[in-house]
Structures are given as structure tokens and as C-alpha cells.
Symmetry: C2
Subunit: 653 residues, 2 copies
């Protein structure tokens, strides 16, 4: 079943050649997040402007241009980062390398939050395109969104290369249809034709009232800034590109930014010219496609392309989140299970965690993009800011080096003198200031609508990361061996065989205890005192003269008397190991197993807190008929044969 | 916490003197079920008669008299049973003793179903009395009912004697208030006073239409028969009475039946005279109390008494269900966990199971008595029938004995000649025929309303009981030792120490392996091939020349390479034990434990299916600072001291 869903397991040595992407595939995998935001960024601007009145929709065009300017500054910064950090230069790494552990964890928290929101927002927006085409789907939007997240999870558990192949065609299909839409729309406008959106289904998206005009503008700008989300994906995933990696990644980033800017401005202008209105029932993209092509197959095609690119966008996070989580786990700020690669070489735990968190958000916010947007983009812009601030520090350090000198930074990247360091630092500094400003605008202007949640969650995450870190540090310290001495080895071993009844499984334990060759005794906890004489008789008959100690248990408890007995033994033999052998009768399946006492677990829990106590499970497999008699000779006629067949009243302890 | 809720643990020896009941306490514990049904039996008759029209309400009185006649016949039968089975003569035991295993399991299934329904119906009816007094409670009836079941569960986990004490006062309080109500009501009628129920809040209880008049009568009779539920409780619980047990139990049964019959007929006559109408908002008892005493404190007092007795009725099942389940489990037809007595000497698992099933029913049926009634009483009457059929067989057997002859029945009860056997058989035969008839009436007349569910569930339960039985029989057979031979003992033991890294917990495992004195090797699964050279170096440095085997794991799996290696060893040494030692680093608490790999469980699951493999857990408790260094000498300055401190990247395997 696992194999059917996930494919054959991959050997560790297959890692390198299997998971690298050409630029075209890289664009498909990493750019879809950035590009897809054009499907809702314009709409979110219009929703905010609608508070002031539809007359203000014209402001959407200058706002879009401003956002594109910001985009170009950020991309210029990130291209520098990609060259400086060819091993992958996400905000986390850059901050860790230049700004220290605390800021790095802040960046990590911001990015992880952002990845989760990217999935939630993109899938929700994709579902919105679906129900624009097929209104009957609207009541099922939450279920559809969560189903899509599950599908993405499975695809990603298979591995990233195959994801690239699967996703290349739809990404280019989206680019093609959007180009067609924009070209056809602008041609119609250029030729003086009429382009007008009609019959937008109600209700209009509701928005809170009573804002100051400036705040409305700021909020509209902040909403539009979601267009920038996703441009950092490439810098986190440089190692997925073919060599020369930095060059390929930087080229792809630039291409992506140009496409993104063109499409975003194009859609915004077209939406304004055609008089699109934000509606809860039909997306702006759908309205534009209907205005340009008329309601029909072409409109459905555009919506299908937008849906698919949005789902691909969610997929970007499935590449980024597990990589970042593994990085942080490698630094011991997250559970180390996140560093394990599964059978398909992907970070399975990260993929599953991302799917779970995103599904929860979708469920809570009803797969509603406008309700999710205030949470979104704070994380992105915070990480933009930290990353660029880190680069400012780095360029300053570069400037202090002699020409041609190369030093190694704390995390093993080469820092070399760069003659253009002042210019680069200036560009990056501008970028950091701008994105920092946008982060503040987001936090303030959208605080009441949900931004407060992110403002609260990110510090909590950082706190948790340090808790985890402190724990791992403490454990490493306690496990470390300063001087390996062998004082007292080998020690005495006192072996106890826990006996409930005398049957085949008991004889197996006795056989093991005898084979070990250490002194041993049987121990029985007398929860039913009346059974003891019969047990002792059977013990003498079948085991022989080996001692059987009976512990009284007036309160019918199993574990406590054993624990007390072991503690007594420890006090009497302070240097010895106490070795407790317990039996376990294994059934065919889980259901039949529950019909038995399974007290092994009880003993384990009672004894594991004791120092220098080893507990051995001797399993006895009931479903293998050949196992029953192979310890013993074949059944023979016996005078008391019938009487000897014991009911398995209690099973093995 | 457990102690606070349940009280101090009780020793096994405290069982006898602690849990026996005087007749008065016995009546309080066991009779409440039967008596409490008067609080709704009349109402359920009226609800059915309402289908034909309120003019037919007069039929309720002859129906009630017929039901009381049936009651007297059944009680006569059951008194015989109590004397014949002084160790407890529930339908299960009587059927098992006289009619064989299959019929006994049918009786067991019927009784268990009935106990669950008793709890659901009684608690729901109790809540109905509550909201008759305080209408605001009606929307919370399901929550209140489930909360009450939880309280009953806790009380019963404390033990039956204290239950008796807790419940005696309310039972006699109910008897007192009902007597007052009936006497006051009939005095008013006798003096020619007006007694009329007014202002019954709507809506009337709805009922399906279109039944034939005869079917309506049969259904009304069947509904009224719920008055008989609970009279079997005493015969199941004879051992809870003081000696002479049978005599005391039989007396209590008779007293109970007389009180029950009187109250039932009295309430029915009064309800008819006063013109009570079944309502979804106010119970008939509430209407009567209001008519007799007026709305006020006396009405509330009557309702409080009825509420409490109904909750006590549910408590009867908390005595009966776990006893019966333990009996069936002792016969190996139910999981044997049901035979375990908890710290307070009660059958804890049975109590918890009953609470769970009853809560589910209450939730499904919305705590609505009228919807639950069609499921109820089939189980009771089926068990009445089987019990009495068993007694018919027993009297026949008795008649075949010589005067004064005593034989022992299969399950150890004495069967003696009884001169009155023909009369007794006749009475019991009449009883069996009548109750068998009522069972059929129930199943047919109420099939559509829910009786089908019980008709389906009971055979499924019987099938499950035999599946469980078959399993235990098979296990007992496989574990039985025909001839204890010691072929091949002692055997060779091959010890493997699973090593992930070399740190304090590893050294503990190595110390244990050395102490055992058998040949051993370290085994490392190389999920990360690049770490192997460093590991081997540390092994040489700290463990020494003992061999360390490295198993390659190209797919980064932990358990499979070990399993394959163990299987190879088994093939090479077919008679040896393979002893696998795994380490476990124990943290302070569950949360920090999840930050570590905890691969012990993975190894256990992979190895437990292999024959003659013992797996030992060597726990290393991190939270005890003194444990860290006591295997080794105190930290010393070392040239490579800093380098020797290892990060706990993987922990112990």
C-alpha cells in the first residue's frame, strides 16, 4: 500500500542525481507560488478599496506599480544572497550566519508560519477559482481544499523530481492562458472595443467600515503585497538546481520576477478598465476571462489554469517547509525526527506536519482567502527583512577584508572581498528598510483582522525552539563521556523470571534464563493466593528444583510487588544488574492480542525508572504451530495427560 | 487522584465482610430498578393508547392489572430459582446449568443488553423528572444524563457496600413520597373531591398512526411490561446478601414485587382518574403530583424522589452487569480482563464498559425514554423465558431422582428431590410461556420502532462470545504442555548490542552485555554511512577490542537490516537463542521523550515475530544526575576532553 502510493524506496546514494531540476523545471516548482498570487492579489486590493467606495478602484493601478517597484528591489537583494550562499540561502541561513542564533530562529519561525499560510491561502484561492466556474462546488470548499492538501502531501512524499515533472506542464499552461487573456484584453482595449464585466453575482465581499483614508490605502497596499510572497522560495532551494547552481537559481529568480510584475500590473489595469468587482461568488480572474472571452470554454480554461497554478503554489511550500524544518532540526531547534529522510529520500515528517497545520487553518477559516490574508505575508516580509539585514552585515564584513582575502564564516561559507560591496550593501539596505516598513504596516493595519495571531504565534514558536534546543543540549551534556572507565565491570547479574502460570511460554523463559548461565529465580506475584499451591506443584513437576519466589499482593497489583522486590535486591547488591525476564504471548493479530493481559507493558513502565535494571521480553509466537513443540519432545502418553492440559487463565505475566 | 475518587485500595481478604448487604440495603440496591419503572411504565401505556384516542385511556387500568398478574407469576418462578441457586441464580447460570452453553450465551447476551438499556432508560427518565420540575434543563438533557452516568461509574468503582449506604436513604425516601402521593390522591377521590390535571404543557408525545386496534393493545401491554424490568436483579446478586442468603434474597424479592405491583396499579388508576396526558414536557408523575399537591414544594419533592430512584435503578445495572460479565469471562466467553477485581475489589472493566455503552445509547437516542423503550425489555423477557425454561428442565430432572437423593449438576449446584416438583414445574412453565409470549409481542409489535436493533444485536453478541471462546480454547491448547522435556537446554546464547553512537547509555549496554558473560558483538545500522568511521574510532577508544559489526542500510531503514542479520544468525545457529540488547534513554516526561527517536519500539515490533529471540531493554535514566557518572570514574582532565563531548544526534538506538 505504502509502495503503491509512494513508489519504490530510494537508496541514499540516489539522492544527488535524482533530485536536481533544470531551470525550466525549477521555475515550475519554485515560481508557481509567486506567480499564482496574481490570481488573488488584485482582488484583495479591490476588496480593501471597496471600503472607501468603488470610485477609488482607480488607485489599484498605482498601488500595483508601487508593489512591483518593491518587488524589483527585493529581487536585486535576493540575487546577491543566492550568489553568496550557493548551498541554499534562505532567510534562516543568512540570519544564522550574520545575525546570530536568536535572530535566525525568529526568521525560521516567520518562514515556517509563512509556508503553512501559503498552503492554506493558495489552496483556498484555487478552490475559489473552481467554484467561480462551478458554483455548485461552493458549499464543499473546505472539504475540497483539505482533500487537495492530502493529494499534495502524497505527491511530495514521493519526492521532488517527480513533482517537477508533474507540475511543469500546468505552470506553463497557466503562463500561456494568462498571456492570452492579457493580450486579448489589451488588444480589445487598444482597438477601442468595449470591455466590461457584467452580472457579477452577489454578495460583494464584505469589509469592515470606518477606516481613515490613509489606513485604507496602507491596508490596500499591504494586501497587494501578497503578490511578493513566494519569491524567496528559490533562495531556499538553490541545491535543487543544476550546476552552476547559483547562476541558474539567480536567472530563474529574475525571469520569475519579470513575469510576475508584468502579469500583476496587467491584471490590475485590465480589472480596473473592465470594472471588475470583488465578489464572494466569482473571482476577479473569472470576471476578466468572462469579459474578454465570454462565458464559455475559454473562461473555464483560464480558471482551470489558475486553479492548477494555485495548487502548484501550495506545492512550493511542500518543497520549502521540510527543508527548513530539517535545517532547524539539524541545529537542534526542532525535533530531530524532522531530519530523517523517508524511503523516498524526502523529509517525510516535515511534509506531514505542513499538511496537518495547513488543513487546520483551512478548516478554521472556512477556506476563505480574504479571512486568511491578514495572517499571511507578515511572516514573508519579516523573513525578507531579516535576510536582507543579514546581508547588510555581511557586506560590511566583506568591506573590511583585504582585496583577494577569503575568510570562512561560522557556518562554513566563504566570505571574500567584493569591490562592489558598498553598492550591494546600499541596495540591500534599501530593501531591508522597505520590507521592514511593510511588515510593520501589515502588523498594524491588519492587527484586528487576524495579524495579531501571527504576532503572537511567532514569538511562541521562537520560545519553543529554544526550549527544544536547551533540552538537546542538556541531553548531549549528560550523555557525554569525559573519561571512559570500566569501574566494576563485569558486574554481578541477578536474573528474575516472572511467572504467572507454567505452560509452554513459561518454559521458553526458563530455557532462556538457563541458557544465559547466570543465577536465576522464578518470581510469582500472588494476585490470587488460592492458586499458589497448584502453581508451586506444577513448577516442581516441570521446572524442577529451581527456586520459585512468591510475592504476596493483597491488593491484587502486579507491578508494585515486583518493583519493591527489585528495589530490595538493588539495596542488597548495590553494584549488580537486576535482569528481569518477562514473557509475552503473541497472537495472530491485534484484536486477539487485546483478549490477553499483555502485562509486559505494565512491568516495563514500573521498572524502567529504576537504575541498572534490564528487562527482557521473551516472545512466544502462538500462530506458528511448529513453535509450540520444538522446545519439547513430541507429545507422549502420560498418566495424567488430560489433567496436565492447563487452561490459559492468565497467560504469561 | 485515583485514591481521592475511589478511596483506599482494599485487600482481597476484605472481600467477604465488606460487600454483604442487609435486606433493607439489598432492597435499596436491587429493587430500585423494578420500583423506578413505575415512574414511566404508566406513561408509556398512555402514549400507545393515545394513538387510538384519549377515550381509550381507561384501558390502562385492566392492562396494569394484567401486567401485575404476570409479575406475580414471574416472581413465584424466581423465588424457586433463588433457593435452587444460592450462589447466584441469574438467567445465565440457570441456562448454563440446565440448557447448555449455547442457550446460556443467548441469556448472557440478552441480560447484558438489558443492563445497558436499564442504565440508558432509567437515567433518561430521571432527567425527564428533572426537567418536569425545571423546564430550563430540557435542552441539556443529554449532557445531564451522560454526566449522571459518569457519577454512577465513579461511585461503583468505589464498591457496592458503600453504594448500598449511599442509596438506602433515597430509595426509602421515594417509597415514602410515593405512598404519600397515592394515599393523598385516593383520599381525595374517596371523599368525592375533584382531582384533575390541568394545563399540561404541549406538545403531546407523538406516536405513529394507522395501527390495528389489537396491535395497539398489544403494544400498550408490551410498553407496560417495562414495569417488570429489574425484578431479576436480586437473583443475580444473591451473594451480596447476608446469610442465609437465599432466604433473605427471596424475602426481599417478594417484598419488592408487592410494593411494585401496588404502586404501579395505584399510579395507573390515579392517572386515569385525574386525566393525565402524556406530554413531552412534563411526566405523568409530575402531573399527578401537581394535581394532588398543587404546583409547589411538594410537587418538586415527589419529582426529586422519582429522579433519585431512577438514578438508583441505573445503579442496579452497575451491580449486575460487571458480575455477569465476570461470570461469562470466567467461562472464557468474554475477555478475561472482565474478571479482574480493581483496587476496590470491584470488576472495574465491567463498570467502565457499561458506562460507555449506556452513554452512547443516551447520546444516540437523545435521552428520550419513549424512543428507547422499544429496545428495552426484549432482553429482560428473553432472559426471563430462558431462566424459567431452565428451571422447568431442572424440576423435571429433580422428579427423576429418588426421594432424598442429591446429585451435583455440571456447574456444581446440588440437585435434590423435591416433593413439590410437579407444582413448581407447572408454575415455572406457565411463567416461561407467558414471558416467551411477551418477548414475541415485543419483537413483533415494536419491530419498526427499534426492536429490530436488539433482534440483530443479540445474535451478533452470541456469535462474538463464541469467537472469543474459540480463541481462548485454541490458546490454552497451544500452551498446554503434554510432557515437559528439556531437549537442548541450556542452549547457546548469541548476544547483539545495538549501537547508534558511543555515549553513556551505550556504555551501560556494553556493561550489561559484559556482565552477562556470554559472547557478544556490537551491531550498528549504518543509516548514515558517512558517520561510520567516526563511530568505529570512538568504539575502539572507549569500548576497546570487542567487535562492532556495521550493517549497511541503503534505504535508511533501522529495523530491517537487524531483522535480516538475526535471521542469518538463526539459520547459522538453529538451536541458539538470539539475545538483542537495545538501549533506551529515559527523559523526565512524555513531551521531552517524543523529542528522541525511541526506536526501541521499532526493534521490538520487527523482532517479536521471530522465534527464540529475546529483546532486552536497558533503560538509562537521564533525569537522575547521579546516574550519569556512576558507571565511570569522576570527570578528569583529558587532552581531547572537549572533543569527547558528543552531541546526542541520534541517541541510543
Amino acid at each position: 500500500m505504502t509502495r503503491l502510493l509512494l513508489g519504490r524506496p530510494l537508496a541514499t546514494t540516489e539522492a544527488e542525481e535524482h533530485a536536481t531540476l533544470s531551470n525550466k523545471l525549477g521555475l515550475a516548482v519554485f515560481a508557481s507560488d509567486a506567480l499564482s498570487s496574481t490570481a488573488y492579489a488584485t482582488e484583495e486590493i479591490l476588496i480593501v478599496l471597496a471600503i472607501a467606495g468603488t470610485a477609488f478602484f482607480g488607485l489599484s493601478v498605482p498601488l500595483a506599480l508601487g508593489i512591483v517597484a518593491l518587488l524589483l528591489v527585493v529581487v536585486a537583494s535576493y540575487r546577491q544572497t543566492i550568489y553568496a550562499y550557493p548551498g541554499g540561502g534562505g532567510a534562516y541561513i543568512v540570519a544564522r550566519d550574520n545575525l546570530g542564533e536568536k535572530v535566525a530562529q525568529l526568521a525560521g519561525a516567520a518562514l515556517l508560519t509563512d509556508y503553512v499560510l501559503t498552503v492554506a491561502v493558495s489552496v483556498s484561492a484555487g478552490v475559489a477559482q473552481m467554484y467561480s466556474a462551478f458554483p455548485a462546488l461552493q458549499p464543499w470548499r473546505v472539504e475540497i481544499a483539505i482533500g487537495l492538501i492530502a493529494v499534495l502531501m502524497l505527491i511530495n512524499l514521493r519526492g521532488v523530481r517527480e513533482s517537477g515533472t508533474v507540475f511543469a506542464i500546468p505552470t506553463y499552461f497557466f503562463l500561456g492562458t494568462m498571456t492570452l487573456l492579457l493580450v486579448a484584453g489589451f488588444l480589445r482595449l487598444a482597438q477601442g472595443g468595449v470591455l466590461h464585466v457584467t452580472d457579477v453575482p452577489g454578495p460583494m465581499v464584505e469589509a469592515a467600515l470606518g477606516y481613515l483614508p490613509l489606513l485604507i490605502l496602507l491596508r490596500a497596499f499591504a494586501s497587494g503585497c501578497v503578490a511578493l510572497t513566494g519569491i524567496e522560495a528559490i533562495s531556499n532551494g538553490i541545491t535543487a538546481f543544476k550546476r552552476p547552481r547559483s547562476h541558474n537559481a539567480a536567472q530563474t529568480l529574475l525571469v520569475m520576477a519579470l513575469i510576475l510584475g508584468t502579469m500583476f500590473v496587467g491584471i490590475t489595469v485590465l480589472a480596473h478598465s473592465a470594472g471588475a468587482l470583488p465578489s464572494e461568488r466569482e473571482t476577479v480572474i473569472s470576471q476578466l476571462a468572462r469579459a474578454v472571452f465570454g462565458a464559455g470554454p475559454m473562461q473555464v480554461t483560464v480558471l482551470a489554469a489558475a486553479t492548477v497554478i494555485l495548487i502548484m503554489a501550495a506545492n512550493t511550500s511542500f518543497a520549502g517547509f521540510p527543508r527548513l524544518a530539517a535545517l532547524q532540526a539539524g541545529d537542534r531547534f526542532l525535533p530531530r525526527q524532522l531530519t530523517f529522510r523517508g524511503s523516498r529520500l524526502v523529509f517525510s515528517w516535515g511534509i506531514v506536519a505542513l499538511s496537518a497545520f495547513a488543513s487546520i487553518l483551512v478548516a478554521i477559516f472556512g477556506a476563505n482567502v480574504t479571512r486568511l490574508i491578514p495572517l499571511y505575508a507578515i511572516g514573508v516580509f519579516l523573513s525578507f527583512t531579516l535576510s536582507q539585514a543579514g546581508m547588510v552585515v555581511r557586506w560590511t564584513r566583506t568591506g573590511r577584508l583585504a582585496r583577494g582575502q577569503v575568510v570562512r564564516s561560522q557556518y562554513g561559507t566563504d566570505v571574500a572581498y567584493d569591490p562592489a560591496w558598498r553598492l550591494k550593501r546600499f541596495v540591500t539596505g534599501i530593501g531591508a528598510t522597505l520590507t521592514g516598513g511593510v511588515t510593520c504596516v501589515f502588523a498594524v493595519a491588519k492587527f484586528r483582522e487576524g495579524a495579531w495571531l501571527v504576532v503572537v504565534v511567532i514569538p511562541i514558536l521562537v520560545w519553543l525552539f529554544f526550549r527544544v534546543h536547551h533540552h538537546y543540549e542538556k541531553v548531549a551534556d549528560q550523555l557525554s563521556l569525559h573519561v571512559p572507565a570500566r569501574k566494576g565491570d563485569p558486574r554481578q547479574v541477578k536474573t528474575l523470571v516472572l511467572v504467572d502460570d507454567v505452560h509452554a511460554a513459561t518454559m521458553r523463559m526458563v530455557s532462556f534464563a538457563r541458557s544465559l548461565g547466570n543465577p536465576w529465580v522464578g518470581v510469582h506475584v500472588a494476585t490470587h493466593a488460592e492458586r499458589v499451591p497448584r502453581l508451586q506443584e506444577k513448577w516442581r513437576e516441570r521446572v524442577g528444583d529451581d527456586p520459585l519466589i512468591v510475592l504476596s499482593s493483597p491488593y491484587r497489583r502486579l507491578a508494585e510487588p515486583i518493583r519493591e522486590y527489585v528495589e530490595e535486591l538493588q539495596n542488597a547488591n548495590p553494584d549488580a544488574f537486576i535482569h528481569v525476564i518477562v514473557g509475552q504471548i503473541l497472537m495472530d493479530n491485534f484484536v486477539t492480542q487485546t483478549l490477553h493481559q499483555n502485562s509486559t507493558v505494565i512491568f516495563k513502565l514500573a521498572l524502567q525508572q529504576l537504575d541498572r535494571v534490564a528487562v527482557t521480553d521473551v516472545a512466544y509466537q502462538l500462530h506458528r504451530p511448529e513453535a509450540v513443540h520444538d522446545d519439547y519432545s513430541a507429545p507422549q502418553a502420560s498418566p495424567d495427560g488430560a489433567e496436565l492440559r492447563e487452561p490459559a487463565e492468565q497467560g504469561a505475566q
